[in-house]
């Protein structure tokens, strides 16, 4: 499986929802502490090639592809802004938008897969903001968390529902039609770095935390988790449910591994890949090819491989 080397430290990788052979990578210089950033758009083929790259003044912490427009990408930048790029335009015309409202770093973005017209940004200024591509200002601001919000995820079936994961150790469920959060899950005793919904059961949500565990919750009875997945050696940075199998999820961690879990099974850990040589920070699963995984990390490498194969195999 070809591997792609990027000049900066990898932070996030996402497959395109339109083209099965395209993916984008968010990177930040100097581990994202202080420095520039770059957004890469890669093409899969016999080798992985770079189709486009955009430089930013500050590190890019996350990205998401538009669900309605095949060449739009939203990037979450460490200076608090969101940049929108249009791949069908020449690089000199990009970015087409810069949305700067957050007071602190933008750490996560997610595009609505149901309504396909809006996206969320999660920021270290404790807020989540709702945007549409055509508006220059945010539509809503959700401010309830007491600490940094690391990630926000739309529900795959309910157009108005999303979840946010925060350093205040809670995950909140929101409905954009309601003024405040509709549920508060005190999911972990430590910071929650990522959350994702089960694509096949809209009431199941997974949270990944600094406490090295991933917990799976059913919002209908949220006092006790459905499953607690232990196995990572350090904080779990990102969790992603499979688009193809209901109970399958991928996670990446500061222990440099990418793990695959099936929370319905007794022995939940069904795959472990330790191809990265630094923190594994980004992971994604393709919606087109069942079992295709992509990951990136601080070792400046992007891997794309099929579950069951060795990511480092040539």
């Amino acid at each position: 499986m070809p591997v792609f080397k990027v000049p900066f430290n990898g932070y996030s990788v996402k497959f395109s929802p339109f083209y099965e052979n395209q993916l984008a990578v968010a990177t930040a210089q100097n581990f994202g502490i202080l420095g520039n950033g770059r957004l890469h758009v890669l093409q899969l083929g016999p080798a992985v090639t770079e189709r486009a790259a955009f430089d930013t003044a500050d590190g890019v912490y996350d990205l998401c592809w538009s669900e309605s427009h095949d060449s739009l990408i939203v990037a979450a930048v460490a200076d608090g802004s969101l940049k929108i790029y249009d791949l069908s335009l020449p690089p000199a015309s990009n970015p087409i938008r810069s949305l700067h409202e957050h007071a602190r770093e933008c750490h996560g973005v997610d595009f609505n897969t149901v309504r396909k017209d809006s996206f969320l940004s999660a920021s270290w200024d404790d807020t989540v903001k709702l945007w549409t591509v055509d508006r220059p200002a945010s539509v809503r601001t959700f401010k309830e968390h007491a600490y940094c919000v690391y990630s926000a995820a739309w529900n795959p079936r309910h157009a108005d529902v999303f979840a946010s994961a925060s350093g205040d150790c809670t995950t909140r469920i929101w409905d954009v039609r309601e003024p405040g959060s509709t549920m508060i899950l005190p999911a972990h005793e430590f910071e929650i770095l990522s959350c994702d919904w089960n694509k096949y059961d809209d009431c199941i949500i997974a949270t990944a935390s600094v406490d090295k565990s991933i917990k799976v919750w059913d919002v209908r009875s949220y006092r006790v988790p459905v499953a607690v997945l232990n196995g990572h050696g350090y904080a779990v940075r990102k969790v992603k449910f499979s688009p193809h199998r209901g109970s399958l999820m991928a996670s990446c961690s500061y222990d440099m591994t990418v793990c695959l879990w099936d929370y319905m099974v007794e022995d939940a850990l069904i795959g472990r890949y330790d191809h990265h040589t630094e923190f594994a920070v980004g992971v994604d699963m393709s919606v087109f090819v069942d079992g295709l995984l992509a990951s990136t990390g601080w070792d400046e490498l992007v891997y794309v491989w099929q579950h069951g194969t060795d990511p480092r195999a040539p």
């Binding site: 099965e20 083929g45 409202e101 897969t113 209901g246």
Partner: protein
Amino acid sequence: MADAPPSSADEKPQNPVSQAVQPVNHDSQDTKVEPVKETSPTSVFVNSEPIREEQVQNAVKFLSHPKVRGSPVIYRRSFLERKGLTKEEIDEAFRRVPDPTPAATATQTVVTTQDGQVKSSSNVQQQPPAQVVQPTPTGPVTSISKMGTLSRFHWYHAILAVGFLAASGAGTAVLFKNAVIPRLKSWIRRVVLEEDEEGQIKKNDSKPSIAEEAAAAAKAAAAAAADVARASQEMLTTKSEEKRCFEELISMLNVQVNEMKSMSSAIQNLEGKSIQGRIAVEEQDNRGVSGTTSRQPYVNGKADTDSHSVRSLSPPSSAEPSVPPHPKSYMEIMAMIQRGEKPSNIREINDAPPNPNQPVSNPRLAPRPKPWEVGQAQSSSVNAYPTQESSNSSAYEYPDNQLNGDDAAPWWQRKNVRITEIEAGEEQKRGSSNVLTNEQPARRSWVPPQPPPVVMPEAAAAIRQPKKASYQTEQLTDDQLLARAADGTDELQRITKFSESGGALEANGENCGLHSTEMPKEDNGTYLEA
């Protein structure tokens, strides 16, 4: 405006994968829940527990604690949330505990207090221009609130000082009065008595009376002097008291000044991109500092040094978060930043949009259905594929692998088991590749319908249907196209070219069909409309 695709309600029963994997009650609950959510306010994403009195009472005890009283409201709420209290329970607890610190609450403008949702709704649903203004001051607001409290302390202490002075002044005045008047009175009495005495004695002896008068006068003078001495002593003591007060005041002012200095330096750090803040948050991730600690990002590298001195080598089995070892260059960069140096590899980049009003280009592809949304389309499209043996054990099986073009299947699409087989048999078995892959275990293969790359004027017309062109109908046309595309390797080649190039279409005469995929302008807004 929100219409969750009704397909999901039907999808569940058709999804054997999830059925096999999930408890059955999920399905029935989902199908029940789905329509309910749209019509009634009780959705499954809302907490419907009744208020638990015990929890509320615990919260009231917590909130009544003097130390808790002094903390910002948002941290109190956060603590209670982490303990598992619902919003209603927290609001009830706040209602029961009178809040004596209006300063703290007033500055937290957007935090839900006793009025809870009303307040947050009024704040959150502001006009967009106000919203632009709103988030940016929140950063400095917290610091200003602290400075505000500082200044309030300042005023408070100033008032105290003035009060002290006034009190001491009044005290001395009172003392004077108390001291002087009785002395005066006693002096007068003495004088009067002495006069009487003298009057009596005078009859006897005039000369001694003078001496006596003189003596009396002297005595009086001495008494007066003594009084004066006492008074001056008292003055001295009050003055020393004042001095003490002054000194106390000065020391308090010094303390305030130091605090203000630290605040201003913290603000500077905050303005200066809070690099230490970014580092500290990373360390937060690694150290897993619980939320009870105060906001670390504003603290200079303290968190940083603490965490790096702790390199835990303990086995990862415990849930206790430990610090993962950071890369060496990470440590070097951190050290540089601590020293105030900027890493040399940073460039000045202008990443502002060259034209902020750049119109968004037209999308070239219709949105493709997600694997978990496909169920309802599958039901209608199954009949369209008589050639496919897809025994619908899996609803997500699709006629696939028309992407296996060129010489070898694109490596990212090969399934584990079939890697070598497909490679070998690729060139010969083009037409039957579908069958081959369909023999795979049902669960493993799903590739979405191709984007319509085929010359089909009917399809183009279907796409151009205005409105009602929700992506579901688009999907159906895709399926119809696929049915026709299943025959003919030319089509396959065209399709593979299309996909290989990542959708970047070249204007070939032959590929005029590809143009049909372009979204006509009038439909541009379809997917962007709510």
